[in-house]
Symmetry: C2
Subunit: 396 residues, 2 copies
């Protein structure tokens, strides 16, 4: 397929298929916030409100308003979700609950620091649209709260016995690398630089294993390997997603070495985790090839594939390495053939190893208005940048 | 197949295949306790010690010693696991940890009341073999601790926000119905009767939905339906397993109505959860047919099939209903064809929906020396009882 056709496919699927799906089906006009448990055609099958997904949907519509078009409908849609979150989302200490019922009463305690991460991201993006100090304050207060609790993020809900096998996880340093760029406009420049440098050092110096070309999901406090279920765990989608966060940081500081390194790791992780039998990228693996604990290890998930497409295109943009383009075409073909629904809008989220639909939903507890629209937007814009770069080269 | 051939298959698979596998491969002769993470051939692939499985293996070898043959090797094997548990298994308040490392240091806090249930069961069965008051004391103290905390069993590790959507789970009343018979010899008769009656009333009066013929996994405190992910959840293996616990209680009190009811529910649950496309019993379902949260919902698990075989045979023994025998032959064929390993000892635990091996292990974090040997023993003995009953009928 030609570059322009890819660009157009990603752009118009975002604007004419995915965004209308969420606008049409997800608003709770009675209690505020969004429904995210939506079946194949978009009908609501459960009304619980998961704070990760509420925040991510606010972020998504604010981002579209800020970056694509100043449509009042998009901003209003973000604002109605934000109002619900402002009213019901936090406990008295400012920690974000994990889930609420339809009316906004808390269902699950604030045990996940990622609820805070996505809240800070949402209100930081919303502030860019509204300039309301209240939105900035929520983003910044939540960011400082994340920094304060990041070394013991589960707090009282931590089931690990202290000291026997301390491990640190990849998800938080990875998300901070993205979050700090999202709310850079609200933070002190030194804090931004320090957070970025810490993030890069942690990811490349501790979680990345140069001998294997692989990123691990959990390491010992000093960055060592733990030969345990948690220590052997590889989450290919996480590792690959983090690589486009690093490429964005590399672009910001014009660090070509960092961009190339992130591109190489993307390709290594992808070659390692690609299912040679049925196609698609595995959800979880054990770095020693042992049976993982996760029974869903061989399933194919939408976000893993979407994030991989972004990393491959950004890798191609920054390095012109043809392996990126060739892998992009292969992952694109798998993704659009299996996750995209030929009959109704939005994408399936969960396929079995064979690529058949495992759950006939478009949204649920973990799949909301986030990875698909963000990915379509990122791919669209990166494809445009690739086209622009190619045309510049032509006219040199 | 003839009755005697089935009997012999279950008996000799237990004695010549499964028990030798655990004796040979699972002893940690250096630190005590058992390895349960064993690959296809029995090699240890991880050394963590999960308290559920440590306890269940002690129970299993003590039970074999008590009920099958007074082999010193079996008792010694149970005792070495019990010594490890006595030394390392509990916190200072007597709560059983969830997992330990190889050396016995706690890895996971005592957040699961089922660790306590299996500990009480293990030491109660062991006491029958040893007559050591120390073993009885652990079983009884732990049982009273379970009763004391059963209404808030997760304690400080509970992530639910109090009051918004209180639910109670099926697993604990179900296991208490079995546990109370296991340690009946150590308890006051009134407490035994009360626990049994509470268990039966709760299971049949609250979790069982007569309109659907289905047992739900979670209900409201007054036994009502909660239209939420948790409230819609059906765990067919759990429900069917509980039915043979009820049949054992029915046998004890010669309650033919209870036995027949448990048999009918077994058949209903099985017809409901049998995979009409690929065979086997689904792991999780949503009672309204909506997408469940569990990504592993369509997988086929060893324990679900083993427990179903027991309930079908006990149902047949108690009611002579031919549907039980016909379903037994069907589930037997699926189970032995897919879970049994034609080349090496013990059974696979995890199959995908199509019946292919998902994880090539014989033991792990959740699969230990328990459901397969207990099921083989129960089926063997129930098949013998069926044969005896048939021969009595012949000579009437």
């Amino acid at each position: 397929m030609q570059l322009e056709k890819y660009t157009s496919l990603y752009k118009y699927t975002l604007l004419d298929n995915v965004i209308p799906f969420w606008l049409e089906h997800s608003a709770d006009t009675e209690f505020g916030g969004y429904f995210t448990c939506l079946d194949r055609v978009g009908d609501v099958f459960d009304t619980d409100k998961f704070v990760w997904l509420q925040c991510r949907q606010v972020w998504c519509f604010a981002m579209l308003y800020n970056k694509v078009e100043k449509k009042q409908q998009w901003l209003d849609f973000a604002l109605q979700g934000a109002a619900f979150l402002e009213k019901y989302g936090r406990d008295s200490s400012g920690n974000w609950y994990f889930s609420l019922n339809r009316e906004g009463a808390p269902l699950t305690q604030p045990h996940s620091i990622f609820s805070d991460c996505f809240a800070s991201m949402a209100f930081g993006q919303l502030y860019k649209a509204t300039n309301q100090p209240g939105h900035a304050k929520i983003a910044v207060d939540t960011f400082y709260s994340i920094l304060a609790k990041k070394d013991n993020s589960k707090g009282m809900y931590n089931k690990s016995f202290p000291g026997t096998r301390p491990l640190k996880g990849f998800a938080l340093p990875m998300i901070l690398c993205n979050l700090v760029l999202e709310i850079e406009h609200l933070l002190d420049a030194d804090l931004v630089e320090k957070t970025i440098q810490d993030g890069i050092d942690t990811i490349l110096g501790e979680f990345y294993r140069p001998d294997l070309g692989i990123i691990l999901e959990n390491v010992t406090p000093d960055g060592g390997f733990s030969d345990s279920f948690e220590g052997r765990l590889v989450n290919p989608g996480h590792g690959i997603e983090a690589m486009w966060f690093l490429m964005d940081l590399a672009e910001r500081s014009n660090d070509k070495d960092l961009a190339r390194k992130a591109m190489e790791i993307t390709l290594n992780m992808l070659e390692y985790s690609w299912d040679k039998k049925h196609g698609g990228i595995f959800y979880f693996m054990d770095v020693k090839g042992l049976p993982p604990q996760q029974l869903e290890w061989d399933q194919k998930l939408w976000w893993v594939h979407m994030e991989t497409l972004i990393s491959l295109l950004k890798g191609y943009l920054h390095t012109s390495d043809e392996r990126c383009w060739s892998w992009f075409e292969k992952v694109h073909a798998y993704t659009w053939q299996h996750f995209s629904d030929p009959k109704y809008a939005e994408w399936y989220g969960y396929l079995n190893r064979q690529g058949e639909v495992l759950l006939p939903l478009k949204g649920g507890k973990w799949k909301g208005c986030f990875h698909v629209p963000r990915g379509l937007y990122q791919c669209w814009k990166t494809l445009e940048a690739i086209a622009e770069k190619k045309s510049e080269v032509q006219y040199l």
